[in-house]
């Protein structure tokens, strides 16, 4: 069952369902705290591997910059590990919410960069090495280009104008003589068709 919907036009997240945090998150947090200054490298690496992609997406969504998103990943993970090691995180089962809150605060504060960051990056360098893009979802761009050309013209126009610099449906619709609702429908069909084509070629 899908709890989120766009069918009614607006409310996307009424009666929002938040999945129960995976127990592994809490276990990781406990292991990092228990190790303290001795460090549990495996637990820290797993935490970074798990949350780095989510933080990066948050950064891309809010900052629209690969470099800024990469900085955010490092800053948030470093801060999270510091807090965990120091025992400042009390509710282990809400680790995901803690990290999200740290993302929000970091973006609001705009406190990326600076000397403090350089200093603590050295401390955490081995753990940060584990942070890399998930190859499971990497994309072959030449395949995508081929599939993009196979789309119906209307879908291609909408996808290009939507995703070139991430524009909402009302803007794209105004430029192409379509209603926002129509853009969303065309966009959804286009995404599905494009994804199917890319995955078929992959398999």
């Amino acid at each position: 069952m899908q709890m989120f919907s766009t069918a009614a036009g607006r409310p996307y997240a009424r009666n929002v369902y938040s999945p129960a945090p995976q127990p592994e998150d809490g276990e990781l947090a406990q292991r990092i705290l228990a190790a303290g200054t001795r460090r549990d490298a495996d637990a820290e690496t797993e935490l970074c591997r798990r949350f780095a992609p989510r933080i990066r997406l948050y950064g891309l969504r809010h900052l629209r910059s690969e470099a800024a998103a990469a900085d955010l990943v490092q800053d948030v993970l470093i801060l999270t590990l510091e807090k965990l090691r120091g025992g400042a995180v009390r509710e282990f089962d809400k680790l995901a919410s803690f990290i999200l809150g740290t993302c929000r605060q970091t973006v609001i504060d705009g406190r990326r960069g600076g000397q403090r960051r350089e200093r603590i990056l050295e401390t955490f360098a081995p753990t940060m090495d584990a942070v890399s893009e998930d190859s499971d979802v990497a994309l072959d761009n030449s395949r995508l280009e081929h599939c993009l050309q196979q789309l119906p013209e209307r879908e291609r126009s909408v996808l290009v104008m939507s995703f070139y610099d991430d524009r909402p449906a009302d803007e794209v619709g105004a430029a192409l003589g379509l209603t926002p609702g129509n853009v969303r429908v065309i966009r959804h069909r286009g995404i599905e068709r494009l994804r199917r084509c890319v995955e078929e070629q992959r398999s």
């Binding site: 069952m1 899908q2 709890m3 989120f4 919907s5 766009t6 409310p11 996307y12 997240a13 929002v16 369902y17 938040s18 999945p19 129960a20 995976q22 798990r50 992609p53 989510r54 997406l57 948050y58 891309l60 969504r61 995901a96 919410s97 990290i99 999200l100 998930d134 499971d136 979802v137 990497a138 994309l139 995508l144 280009e145 993009l148 050309q149 119906p152 013209e153 209307r154 291609r156 126009s157 996808l159 290009v160 104008m161 939507s162 995703f163 070139y164 610099d165 991430d166 524009r167 909402p168 449906a169 009302d170 430029a175 192409l176 003589g177 065309i186 959804h188 995404i191 494009l194 994804r195």
Partner: protein
């Protein structure tokens, strides 16, 4: 790798989130879910990757598409070198592509205000090919259709003539809005 989600976020909602179509409280609710759910965050990652791939295709000139004049201005503002050819109905233009060009755009002028459905036909007489794009998205008040060509294809052309033909499709048939002729020559210094 990720545990399946018992209540996955709909694809349309992921796209709406990514493209900033939600209000703040809805976005925050989505983010709470995404941070706690590896499955849905991986799905959002795939969507983001598709978007990045589309962006790269545009920048390489590999996305042959009908766009808008404002969108082309945006590409130029972003630093892409765009070669534009405005053409009136029935007219022809001498055209080429230079090594530094990222994109070639044809601006087909036409009265569109009363057009319900618009098709575009590409003809390459020397190659004996004819390709029809059906049901374009277009702004009736724009008085032009902006077509971005596939840059690698244009670069591969020798001296040749190409035609584009705009057709208004109506319940009682179709009428030609304009024939546009492109006399292409490869770039020579």
């Amino acid at each position: 790798m990720n545990t399946p989600c018992a209540s996955p976020i709909a694809e349309t909602t992921l796209a709406a989130y990514w493209l900033c179509e939600m209000d703040s409280s809805d976005s925050q609710a989505i983010e709470e879910h995404l941070f706690a759910c590896g499955h849905c965050s991986a799905r959002l990652q795939r969507l983001a990757n598709l978007g990045a791939g589309i962006r790269q295709a545009v920048e390489k000139g590999a996305a042959h598409a009908v766009l808008s004049a404002a969108f082309v201005r945006k590409l130029k503002d972003a630093g892409l070198r765009v070669r534009e050819y405005p053409v009136q109905p029935g007219a022809s233009v001498a055209c080429t592509i230079e090594p530094e060009d990222d994109l070639v755009v044809s601006r087909l002028c036409a009265p569109l205000v009363d057009v319900q459905r618009l098709d575009l036909v590409f003809e390459h007489p020397a190659a004996g090919t004819r390709h029809r794009l059906e049901d374009l998205a277009f702004d009736r008040n724009a008085d032009e259709i902006v077509v971005a060509s596939n840059t690698p294809f244009v670069r591969s052309l020798g001296s040749t003539t190409l035609h584009m033909r705009l057709l208004a499709v109506q319940p009682d048939g179709e009428r030609e809005l304009g024939l546009y002729t492109f006399n292409h020559s490869p770039y020579t210094r």
